[in-house]
C-alpha cells in the first residue's frame, strides 16, 4: 500500500482529465470534468489514513523519488505527511464541488473553463506533495496560470485588473523564494528538501544567512496566504473570480502559503523561524483584527468573506509561529494551525458556494439589495446559518477546535498577542452574524426576492457534505490530528526523517560529505 505510486496518480489524474476535456467535444466537457474530479477525490481518500493513523510520524508516506533533471539534481520527489495529506484531500474534495457547482453556472467557453480548473487542481496537489524545491516551485507557479485565466475570462467587471494584480503580486513573492532556493542548492548540491535539511544541519550557514534564506521563503508565503500587509491582491481576486475558482483559491490555494510556512520555513530554518516569530505573530494579529474590522464594513457579501479569510488565516500563522517560538511547550499551536488550515477550507469553500447560490438567484451580492431571504428559502437559510456558525468558531463546529488550540498555544508563547487575537473571534461573530442578519432576516425590501425558490435537491447535496464535515471535525477532531500532533524535534530534526531517507537516499548527499 505504501509503495503504490498513489501521489503520482493523483497528480496525473487532473492533467489527464484536462487533456481529455481538450480532446472531447465541448458538450461533454462538464461531465468529463465532474467524473475526473470525482475519480481524483476517491483516489485521494487513502491519504486520510496518513493523517489519522500517522504511520510515519514526522516522515513521509507514499514517497516516490525519481530523477527529473539529473543535470541539476532536480528530482521528482513526492511524499506527504499528515498536514499535506489532509490538504491534498481538501483540494480534491473542494474540486468536486467547484466542478459540480459550475455545471449550471458556466455557460460560455465551457471547455476552456474546465480545462483550467483541472490544471489548477493538478498543480495544487503537486505543490502539496512536492519534496523537491524546484518541483514545488514549478507547481506553485503553475497554479497561478489557470487562476489567472479563470479570473480574466469568467470573472466579474474588473476581472482584468484583478487578475493582473493577483498574478504580478504573487510572482514577486515567489521570485524571492527562488533566490533562496538557488542559494540552498549551491550549498547542498541538490534541490531535494530532505537532503538540503541534512546539509543545513551538518554545515549550518551563519544565522544571518539563515535569516535571509528564511525571508525569501517567508515573503513568498506571506503574499500567498496572504498575511497583512501583503493582502491587497486578495479582495479583488476573490471578488472578481468565478465562484468555482474562488472556492479553490480561498479553500485550497491560500493554504499553499500557510503550508509553505510549515513545510519550508519551520522545517528548514527552525532557528530563523524562532527569531522571526515576534514579527510574524505581530503581522498575524494585525491581520486578524484588521481583516475582521474591514470585513464588517463591506457592502458585498463576497468581499466580507474575502476579508474574513485574511482574518482567519492570520490565526493559522499565529499558531505556526507561536509553535516556532516556543514549540517545546506549546505543540498544540501547530496542531491547531494545521487543523484550522483544513477547517477554513471547509467553511470558506461552503460560504463561497452559498454566495454563488445567492448571486445566481438574485443577480446581486450587495448586502443592501438583499434581505429577508429566509422567508423564501428556509432550507437554504438553515444550511447557511450552520456554515456561518462554523466560520465564527462556535463550539461543536470545526472552527472552534482549531482556533481554541491555536489560542491555547499562543497564550503560552505570546500572551498579549493571544489576547488581542481572541478579540478577533468576537469580531468574526460581529461581521458574520451582522452580514447574515442583513441578508437572511428582516423584511423583504426588494420585490425580486419574493420570486426566489428554495434550494433544489442538487443544491442541497452540494452543501450538505460541508455541513457534515463541519460537525465531524468539530466533534471528533482527534480522528485526524494524530498525524498533525508533532513536536518541534519531529518536524525539524533530520532524525525523524530516517524512514524517508532510508526509502530514498539522496544521491548528491553521499558524495558531498567528506
Amino acid at each position: 500500500m505504501q509503495n503504490l505510486p498513489l501521489l503520482s496518480l493523483l497528480i496525473a489524474l487532473p492533467f489527464i482529465t484536462a487533456v481529455l476535456i481538450g480532446l472531447a467535444p465541448a458538450k461533454s466537457a462538464r461531465t468529463i470534468a465532474l467524473l475526473g474530479s470525482l475519480a481524483t477525490f476517491l483516489v485521494s481518500l487513502p491519504l486520510l489514513g496518513v493523517a489519522s493513523i500517522a504511520p510515519t510520524r514526522g516522515g513521509f508516506a507514499f514517497e516516490q523519488n525519481v530523477p527529473w533533471l539529473p543535470n541539476v539534481h532536480v528530482s521528482y520527489h513526492v511524499g506527504v505527511d499528515g498536514a499535506a495529506a489532509l490538504l491534498v484531500v481538501l483540494s480534491t474534495f473542494l474540486q468536486v464541488f467547484a466542478a459540480a457547482y459550475s455545471q449550471e453556472t458556466i455557460k460560455e467557453r465551457v471547455k476552456e473553463f474546465y480545462l483550467f480548473l483541472m490544471v489548477l487542481e493538478g498543480a495544487l496537489i503537486g505543490a502539496f506533495s512536492s519534496l523537491d524545491l524546484i518541483l514545488f516551485y514549478v507547481f506553485f507557479e503553475l497554479s497561478l496560470v489557470p487562476v489567472y485565466f479563470l479570473i480574466g475570462i469568467w470573472g466579474g467587471k474588473h476581472r482584468v485588473a484583478a487578475g493582473n494584480k493577483f498574478f504580478v503580486y504573487t510572482v514577486v513573492g515567489s521570485l524571492l523564494m527562488l533566490v533562496s532556493i538557488i542559494a540552498l542548492y549551491l550549498r547542498a548540491g541538490t534541490f531535494d528538501l530532505l537532503a538540503i535539511k541534512q546539509t543545513l544541519v551538518s554545515l549550518p550557514p551563519t544565522p544571518t544567512a539563515m535569516l535571509m534564506l528564511f525571508t525569501g521563503f517567508a515573503l513568498a508565503f506571506a503574499v500567498k496566504t496572504p498575511l497583512f500587509p501583503f493582502h491587497t491582491w486578495l479582495p479583488d481576486a476573490y471578488a472578481e473570480s468565478p465562484i468555482a475558482c474562488t472556492v479553490l483559491l480561498s479553500g485550497a490555494m491560500a493554504k499553499l502559503g500557510t503550508y509553505g510556512f510549515y513545510r519550508f520555513c519551520l522545517f528548514l530554518f527552525p532557528e530563523a523561524s524562532q527569531q522571526a516569530a515576534p514579527v510574524m505573530v505581530t503581522l498575524a494579529v494585525v491581520g486578524i483584527i484588521y481583516g475582521a474590522l474591514v470585513a464588517a464594513v463591506q457592502r458585498d457579501v463576497k468581499r466580507v468573506l474575502a476579508y474574513s479569510s485574511v482574518s482567519h488565516l492570520g490565526f493559522v500563522v499565529l499558531g505556526l509561529f507561536s509553535f516556532a517560538a516556543n514549540g517545546q511547550v506549546v505543540p498544540q499551536a501547530l496542531t491547531g494551525a494545521l487543523l484550522q488550515n483544513i477547517n477554513h477550507g471547509i467553511s470558506t469553500g461552503a460560504l463561497f458556494l452559498i454566495v454563488g447560490i445567492i448571486e445566481t438567484r438574485r443577480g446581486t451580492r450587495r448586502i443592501n439589495e438583499l434581505g429577508g431571504l429566509w422567508e423564501q428559502m428556509p432550507v437554504f437559510g438553515r444550511l447557511f446559518l450552520l456554515v456561518t456558525l462554523s466560520s465564527i468558531a462556535l463550539p461543536l463546529t470545526n472552527g472552534f477546535v482549531g482556533e481554541f488550540l491555536i489560542l491555547l498555544g499562543a497564550f503560552q508563547a505570546y500572551p498579549l498577542a493571544a489576547a488581542l487575537a481572541t478579540t478577533g473571534v468576537i469580531w468574526s461573530a460581529v461581521y458574520m452574524l451582522w452580514m447574515f442578519q442583513r441578508v437572511m432576516y428582516g423584511p423583504v425590501t426588494n420585490p425580486a426576492t419574493r420570486r426566489l425558490r428554495d434550494l433544489n435537491g442538487g443544491e442541497v447535496a452540494l452543501l450538505v457534505p460541508f455541513v457534515v464535515l463541519i460537525f465531524v471535525f468539530g466533534l471528533f477532531p482527534t480522528l485526524f490530528t494524530r498525524g498533525l500532533n508533532l513536536s518541534p524535534t519531529e518536524i525539524a530534526s533530520p532524525a525523524s526523517m530516517t524512514a524517508a531517507r532510508e526509502a530514498a537516499p539522496a544521491p548528491a548527499l553521499a558524495q558531498g560529505q567528506p
Partner: protein, 548 residues
C-alpha cells in the same frame, strides 16, 4: 599536412556547410526557372542544408571547452578553435536560421520579394555568427562580425519598397558601422599593447601567430604578470582597447546604452528578418564576448584580476541597466514588434548576467553552459513570437498593434495558446523552458557571488510578467476586433508550433547536450549570503582575497 588540413576543415565544418549552402542557393536562384516550384526548391534545400550543418556540428560538442587549464584545440594556425562551446553555438545558430527561413515562405511570396537572395543572405549572416563563435583571433572575430552584419544591413532593408524598411536599414547600417569602427579600434589598441609587452619582456613572438591571437594574448598576460613588472592588463592601451571592444560587441547584442537602434530597426525590418536578427546577432555577440573576456580578463590570477575589477563593475552596471531599461520601456509599447524589441533587450541583460558570471572562476563552466541554454530556449520563444505575427498576418500586411490581437483565442485557439506559451516562457513562468533558462543563469550568478545582481534581475523581471500578460489579456480577455478567419499560416505556422512545442517540452525534459550541468559550490563553510554580497564587486573580491 593533408591530415591537418582535413582536421582543420572538419572543425569548421558547420560554417563551411552553411556558406556553401548559401552559394548553392544563389546558383539555384540564377539557374532554375521562375515560379513557385523554384521557390519551394530553394526553401527546402536551405532547410535541409541547415539540418545537415547542425548534425555535423554535434561532433564538435564533445571537445572540452578552451579555458583555464585546458589547452584549446586550435585550427588554421591558431586562428580558429573547435570546442563544445563553439559547437553548441553553431547548433543554436542553425536552429535560428532554420526557423527564420521556415517562417519566411508565404511572407516573401505576398510581398513579392526575391527568395533566393533572401535565403542566401540569411545563410551568409548565420555563417558570420558561427565564425564569431569559433574564432580564436580578434581579427577573425571582426571578420565574422562583418559577415554577420553586412548581410543583416541588407536584410533589414530587404522590403525596399517600404519606407520603414529603408529607414531601418539606414539606421542599422550607420550605427552598426560606427560600432564596428569602435570594435576594430579596440582590437588595434590591444594589438599594440600586446606587442609592446612582448618587446619589453623580451619574449619572442611565436612564429605564425599574431598579436591579435587570443592564445598569444593569454600567454602574454600570464607572463607579463609572472615577470613581476606591471601586468599588461594594467596598461592604458590595453584598458582602452578592452573598453572599445565592449562597446562594439555590446552594440550587436543590443545592450543598454548601445540599444537605441534596436526598437526602430526591429519595427521597420521585415518581420522574419527581425526574428532572425533578434537572435542571431545576439548569439554571435555573446559568443564573442564570452570567448574574449575569458582570455582578456582572466580572474584566476590575483594581480591580473585586480586590473579586471573595473571591467567587472562596468559589465555589472551594463547588465543592471539593460535589464531595467529594457523591461521598463517595454511596458508602454503598443506595437508588438517594438515590445518584443525591448523584451529582447531585457533578455540580453539576463544573458549578460551569465556572461559576467562566466568570468568568475568556479562558476565559469556553469555560467557558460547556462548562457548557451538561455540562448537555446530564447531562440524558440522569441522566434516563435515573431512567427506568430507572420502567421496571423495576411495580404502582405501584419497586425502589429497589441490591441489587434483582441479576442484571438475565440477565433484561433491554437494560435492564441502558442502565443500564450511564448509569453509565459519569456516571463519565466514554469513549467515553460524560459523558467529553467532563468534558473540556470541566476544559479550561476549566485554561485559567482553576484547575488545582488541576480536579485535585482529577478525583481525587475516581474515588470516583464506584466507586459507579457498584456498580450494574453488581449488574446483571451477581450472581444475580437479583427477577423482572423483567413490567416497566412504556411511555414510561419509550422515554425510557431514547432517553437511552442520545444518551449513546452524543454521545460519538462533535459535538452540533451544543451542542458547545463550546474555543480554546487565546494562544501566549505563559506557563508551563502555573506559579506560578498554587500560589496559592489563580489566576483573580484572573492578572487582577490585568498580563501581561508
Amino acid at each position: 599536412m593533408n591530415q591537418s588540413v582535413l582536421t582543420d576543415l572538419q572543425a569548421l565544418i558547420c560554417p563551411l556547410v552553411v556558406i556553401v549552402l548559401g552559394m548553392i542557393v544563389l546558383l539555384l536562384d540564377l539557374g532554375t526557372g521562375d515560379g513557385p516550384a523554384r521557390r519551394r526548391l530553394i526553401y527546402f534545400v536551405s532547410l535541409g542544408g541547415l539540418v545537415a550543418a547542425a548534425l555535423l556540428a554535434v561532433a564538435n560538442t564533445t571537445i572540452p571547452n578552451a579555458g583555464v587549464g585546458v589547452t584549446p584545440l586550435t585550427h588554421f594556425g591558431g586562428g580558429m578553435v573547435a570546442d563544445r562551446f563553439g559547437g553548441l553555438f553553431c547548433i543554436v545558430l542553425c536552429i535560428i536560421a532554420g526557423l527564420a527561413i521556415t517562417m519566411s515562405d508565404r511572407y516573401l511570396e505576398e510581398k513579392s520579394l526575391n527568395s533566393g537572395e533572401y535565403y542566401a543572405l540569411i545563410l551568409f549572416s548565420t555563417s558570420g555568427a558561427m565564425l564569431m563563435a569559433l574564432a580564436y583571433d580578434l581579427v577573425n572575430i571582426f571578420v565574422g562580425l562583418e559577415i554577420l552584419s553586412v548581410a543583416l544591413y541588407i536584410l533589414s532593408g530587404f522590403a525596399r519598397r517600404e519606407r520603414r524598411s529603408e529607414e531601418s536599414a539606414v539606421k542599422y547600417f550607420l550605427l552598426g558601422s560606427f560600432a564596428s569602427g569602435f570594435l576594430l579600434y579596440g582590437m588595434a589598441l590591444i594589438y599594440g599593447a600586446v606587442g609592446i609587452a612582448l618587446k619589453n619582456t623580451g619574449l619572442l613572438q611565436p612564429t605564425g601567430t599574431s598579436f591579435t591571437n587570443l592564445g598569444v594574448i593569454a600567454r602574454t598576460i600570464q607572463e607579463s604578470a609572472e615577470t613581476g613588472g606591471a601586468p599588461i592588463t594594467a596598461s592604458p592601451l590595453f584598458i582602452a582597447g578592452v573598453a572599445l571592444l565592449i562597446v562594439g560587441l555590446a552594440f550587436k547584442a543590443a545592450i543598454v546604452p548601445f540599444h537605441s537602434y534596436a526598437p526602430d530597426v526591429y519595427e521597420g525590418a521585415p518581420t522574419p528578418v527581425t526574428a532572425f536578427m533578434s537572435a542571431a546577432a545576439k548569439v554571435g555577440a555573446f559568443a564573442a564576448l564570452i570567448r574574449v573576456f575569458g582570455i582578456l580578463l582572466p580572474a584566476d590570477n590575483a594581480s591580473i584580476a585586480q586590473a579586471a575589477v573595473p571591467f567587472h563593475a562596468v559589465l555589472w552596471g551594463l547588465a543592471a541597466a539593460t535589464i531595467v531599461v529594457g523591461n521598463v520601456l517595454a511596458i508602454r509599447q503598443t506595437n508588438i514588434k517594438r515590445m518584443l524589441a525591448y523584451s529582447s533587450i531585457a533578455h540580453a541583460g539576463y544573458i549578460l548576467v551569465g556572461v559576467l558570471a562566466s568570468s568568475v572562476p568556479g562558476a565559469s563552466q556553469n555560467a557558460k553552459d547556462a548562457v548557451i541554454y538561455y540562448l537555446f530556449t530564447y531562440t524558440f520563444m522569441n522566434l516563435g513570437a515573431f512567427a506568430m505575427v507572420i502567421w496571423l498576418g495576411r495580404d502582405g500586411g501584419e497586425y502589429t498593434s497589441i490591441a489587434d490581437y483582441a479576442g484571438l483565442a475565440k477565433q484561433q485557439p491554437l494560435a492564441a495558446a502558442a502565443m500564450a506559451v511564448f509569453m509565459l516562457s519569456l516571463a519565466g513562468i514554469p513549467p515553460a523552458a524560459g523558467f529553467l533558462a532563468k534558473l540556470y543563469v541566476f544559479t550561476s550568478a549566485v554561485q559567482a557571488g553576484l547575488t545582488g545582481l541576480a536579485v535585482l534581475a529577478l525583481v525587475v523581471s516581474v515588470i516583464g510578467v506584466y507586459y507579457y500578460l498584456n498580450i494574453i489579456v488581449a488574446m483571451y480577455f477581450r472581444d475580437p476586433v479583427n477577423d482572423f478567419s483567413s490567416v497566412r499560416a504556411g511555414g510561419a505556422r509550422a515554425a510557431a508550433l514547432l517553437s511552442a512545442a520545444a518551449t513546452l517540452l524543454f521545460g519538462f525534459i533535459p535538452a540533451g547536450v544543451f542542458s547545463p550541468t550546474i555543480q554546487r559550490d565546494q562544501p566549505t563553510a563559506q557563508p551563502i549570503l555573506g559579506a560578498a554580497e554587500k560589496s559592489p564587486l563580489p566576483p573580484a573580491v572573492a578572487v582577490v582575497s585568498p580563501q581561508p
